[in-house]
Symmetry: none
Subunit: 216 residues, 2 copies
């Protein structure tokens, strides 16, 4: 990459755009600026920047809206989006990444760090503060919703949980019986309790229930 990275700055505050431009200095080539979603989309179409510095809270739908407006063909060879926001809220981070951003940094970042982040994003790497990356991982792994639904599971006895786990994994009653050294009839009894307590009606629903809660 001999030529400087071409950057588009999208933020609704002119003052902030000027600050970013000054901080970046000559390290990158700021080809344009935009103050709202429409301007950003137009600027991308006109200038084809390598990296778009995107404010998350933006008039006209927010930064995610800009990425959603990109034609599908641009996904692979279009610009890389780097979110630049005052917010470190999980929903902002997750929403922005889901929309297609390759990175997310807060506005507390220093100039040299931002230059480095832009460079890395332009090479298709991901840039994150570790804490923010954790939000994305949690959302991805589905860990977030786990804590809320324990009450149902707590109502199961220890033995019922064992049976439930094996059943949800696809074990036949017979196999569960063999595994736990009890009779098939006992397995059936436990399963009845499990289904009743969880308000489910079949082992198939149980499989999905357990799968959704990552109990497998």
């Amino acid at each position: 990459m001999s030529h400087p990275i071409r950057v588009l700055i999208v933020d609704d505050h002119a003052m902030f755009r000027a600050g970013v431009r000054a901080e970046l200095g000559s390290a990158v080539d700021v080809v344009a600026e935009a103050a709202d979603v429409d301007e950003a989309v137009a600027a991308i179409a006109e200038h084809h920047p390598d990296v778009v510095l995107l404010d998350v809270h933006l008039p006209g739908g927010g930064g995610a809206e800009v990425m959603r407006r990109m034609p599908p063909t641009v996904v692979t060879d279009g610009p890389r989006f780097l979110a630049l926001s005052v917010s470190d809220a999980a929903e902002d981070v997750i929403g922005t990444i889901r929309a297609g951003a390759r990175g997310y940094v807060t506005k507390t970042i220093t100039g040299p760090e931002l230059v480095d982040a832009i460079r890395r994003v332009s090479e298709n790497d991901a840039v994150f503060s570790p804490r923010l990356a954790g939000f994305v991982l949690d959302a991805f792994a589905g860990t977030i919703e786990i804590s809320a639904v324990d009450e149902d599971l707590d109502r199961l006895t220890e033995r019922e949980r064992e049976v439930m786990r094996l059943i949800a994994r696809g074990y036949a009653y017979k196999e569960v019986a063999r595994e736990l050294f009890i009779s098939i009839k006992t397995v059936e009894t436990h399963m009845s309790s499990v289904l009743r307590k969880l308000q489910l009606s079949s082992r198939h629903e149980l499989t999905r229930w357990a799968s959704d809660r990552r109990l497998l």
Copy 2:
């Protein structure tokens, strides 16, 4: 954090475990080692480490299996998992993160870097090489449809795929028949083909198969 971080090393090669232990030196407290999934689960229960260094390719189901075996209560206050693998394949990375790992580094990492990664993971931050983080983001944003093993699915006919989808979602044969305006017997025929082609033996396995591939 005044006391040293308590670490469990999980890898099937004793030589490699010794190497890691030597590289870590006195920076952390290696409380135990494990060579397969069962040993790892037992060691976690016994020693309650802060961080588990987890090899991805492991006898007994792979590193992800270890995390899946954790009781749900451990999700919030249990150990943090840091995957340590020779593989930089997207499916390995994504699968491991989906199972609950807080980080993924390759075995080319240096000792000091590994120490730093362990420290950051223990503080609930996420640790990644930027390239690998990109895989996760792509999967999260839906850019790539995790198409690791399509060959199996491609062998199904259009109709078989429809039936498979409904069955995997928990529909009874009768309900599938009503939904697709065909007879139960036809549903059975399609299901036979599906199970045979996918080399599965019951609708329960099919549910897990489809669930693993996010076909629901």
